[in-house]
């Protein structure tokens, strides 16, 4: 029987590969056979591993228990089996899928679909957010946190962090030009920058008291923040202001780079991170930022944004290339497996037969 199976498998493998020469009836036969057997086998397994143990057996036992209950011959087992009657509810909900076959009752299919979607969405949303958004964002930022070893539970640090977040939100709201800017908005920037500065001071103070940041790292951080503020200010300012402060983006980016070198040069020097780890972390952040910029269609892709999105396309293409390369490797693996089967198992059995 095993030898017969080997010959069938070998013949079907050759039928499938015959398509490489050209389309032919042998290939079509094997293809249709594969699809048919897959579906048939799947249904049988679903009945034996799903319907029978999850629905049929518990319901049979429950109805048996119910019969004993009616007959008045109650046992603990028959009482326990009665719980199986609750399975009628999911079974009935599942059976509503077949209402689709009746034009008059087709609307009933909405209920099982609604339950499925509701369950799926309820289970998925918090977990997908946690696994694919929060954890991934954390993973992108995590290498940069390696330099900051201050106690996260410290109240000084927490207050500082909260003040900085509030400051950032208020300051950003000042630049929200989609809504009418009244005089009161001008105060927002002052309050925001003030809160942000105090928050920054708190975090730095906390880091110093907890030996979290060295003097070099603090200097580097300040340079980077100044660089970011300078560059950011240039991009949000008016055309007249840009003409006045043409030097601002160059100075800002220079400060950013110097600050970065100061911080991470020190980190590498101290052995907290290897140069390769710093390079990888920076590359990931640049990749994420540029790729997201490419998909940011709310602004016109011109100037700096155009260049950033072009770099994003580069990252995307590298990603697609890696996926394509791996796909080729995967397809080859399938072929190697089948060739191994034909040579070692099938031809091997023939050689063994005559040898």
């Amino acid at each position: 029987m095993e030898v017969f199976g080997l010959w069938v498998a070998a013949a079907l493998t050759l039928c499938i590969y015959s398509f490489l020469y050209r389309d032919n009836p042998f290939y079509r036969f094997a293809e249709h056979l594969f699809v048919g057997i897959s579906v048939g086998y799947g249904i049988v397994i679903a009945i034996h591993q799903g319907v029978i143990p999850l629905a049929w057996e518990p319901l049979s036992e429950a109805f048996g228990g119910l019969w004993i209950e009616i007959a008045g011959d109650v046992t603990p087992e028959s009482r326990q089996a009665l719980w199986g009657l609750f399975r009628i509810i999911p079974v009935c909900i599942g059976l509503l899928f077949f209402a689709r076959l009746s034009p008059n009752y087709a609307w009933l299919i909405r209920y099982p679909i609604a339950i499925l979607i509701g369950f799926g969405a309820g289970a998925a949303i918090p977990n997908v957010l946690q696994a694919n958004i929060f954890k991934q964002t954390q993973g992108t930022v995590a290498p940069f946190v390696t330099i900051h070893t201050a106690d996260p539970a410290s109240w000084v640090g927490t207050v500082g962090a909260v003040l900085m977040v509030i400051g950032v939100i208020i300051t950003i709201s000042y630049f929200l030009i989609s809504v009418e800017q009244r005089d009161s908005f001008k105060w927002l920037s002052i309050i925001g920058i003030g809160l942000g500065s105090w928050g920054f001071a708190f975090v730095i103070a906390d880091s110093i008291t907890n030996d979290g940041l060295t003097a070099t790292e603090i200097v580097g951080s300040i340079l980077m923040v100044l660089g970011l503020l300078g560059t950011g200010y240039y991009f949000v300012s008016s055309v007249e202001q840009r003409n006045t402060f043409k030097w601002l983006p160059i100075a800002g980016i220079s400060l950013l780079i110097i600050g970065f070198i100061v911080i991470y040069g020190n980190t590498i020097w101290n052995g907290n991170l290897t140069p390769w780890e710093v390079f990888s972390a920076v590359l990931i952040v640049i990749g994420v930022f540029c790729t997201l910029t490419y998909f940011f269609f709310s602004v016109e892709h011109r100037g700096a944004i155009q260049w950033t999105s072009k770099i994003g396309i580069g990252f995307l293409m590298i990603g697609f290339g890696a996926a394509f390369g791996n796909t080729v490797m995967g397809r080859l693996a399938l072929m190697i497996h089948r060739v191994g089967f034909l040579i070692n198992d099938w031809l091997g059995s023939i050689v063994a037969l005559f040898g």
């Binding site: 591993q49 696994a131 890696a322 791996n326 693996a333």
Partner: protein
């Protein structure tokens, strides 16, 4: 000459690929294998587990993609049995039930492992999400019996295994996005440690999970199987497959380079 090359019958390429696959299969060549970090991490994690720990193997691939996950399953199960780690098998794919059952029996026999004491195969239950979430509360609520219809309460191995709390690692042998589903539901909700043994097609999308630590390790395709076999010092199907694949990759790289050169020459001529 260039014209003939550009219009070459694609069946010549198929023939060349067939030759570079058949020849190394007939005349095995042993190439040097270096172990990558994701595979090393998985090996180290299993190596550090004490004897008597439980590992769950999810056979989440179909018959059409078993070439890569099967050598991985063999290598990991061999490692587990040699260290006295229990293996609990299950699948989210209906078409894999008999394949996985047969494979587990074969590897167990080779390693003198006893069913019910060293390993168990739970089988398949429909509905990916309810299965993964349900096992987090109580495995017996989802699989009240194993694949051989034995109640879980009668299986010695399962006596102390109630839910994911008693599972040290889930290794998902996958050919599709099931690893992500395990991460999203079992890792995020129940903090179950997850590793992946994936077909080459989905390697790229697994790397972000490795970087964040949501995957403790990964075996990437034939390469991963071969690397794991090297760590065990037991060359098997993964090593043979990788050696053969290397020649095919060389041919494909050569063809890509030739195709590009021909394309640019032709474009220059047309200009």
């Amino acid at each position: 000459m260039l014209e003939r090359f550009m219009n070459m019958d694609r069946r010549i390429i198929f023939l060349l690929i067939a030759l570079v696959v058949i020849i190394p299969t007939l005349i095995p060549v042993r190439l040097r294998i270096t172990v990558s970090e994701p595979t090393q991490k998985l090996y180290d994690y299993i190596e550090a587990l004490p004897s008597g720990s439980n590992i769950m193997l999810a056979f989440d691939y179909g018959p059409s993609s078993l070439a890569e996950p099967e050598p991985m399953a063999k290598a990991v199960m061999q490692h587990c049995f040699s260290k006295g780690i229990n293996v609990i098998g299950m699948t989210l794919f209906p078409s894999t039930v008999t394949l996985a059952d047969k494979l587990m029996k074969k590897i167990a026999d080779e390693n003198n492992a006893v069913y019910g004491e060293d390993y168990v195969f739970l089988g398949y239950r429909p509905g990916t999400l309810p299965v993964i979430l349900g096992m987090g509360t109580n495995i017996a609520n989802v699989f009240d019996k194993d694949y051989q219809d034995t109640p879980l309460s009668d299986i010695p191995l399962m006596a102390n295994v109630k839910n994911y709390d008693q599972i040290s690692l889930l290794l998902d042998l996958a050919s599709s996005s099931t690893t992500e589903t395990w991460i999203i539901y079992a890792n995020t909700k129940y903090d179950l440690k997850i590793a992946a043994g994936v077909t080459a097609v989905i390697i790229a999308q697994m790397y972000p999970y490795l970087q964040t630590g949501q995957l403790v390790g990964m075996m990437p395709g034939y390469l991963g199987a071969a690397e794991y076999e090297k760590l065990l010092n037991a060359p098997g199907d993964g090593t043979v497959g990788l050696n053969t694949a290397s020649f095919a990759h060389l041919l494909i790289i050569g063809l890509v380079i030739l195709g590009n050169i021909a394309f640019f020459i032709q474009r220059r001529k047309e200009a």
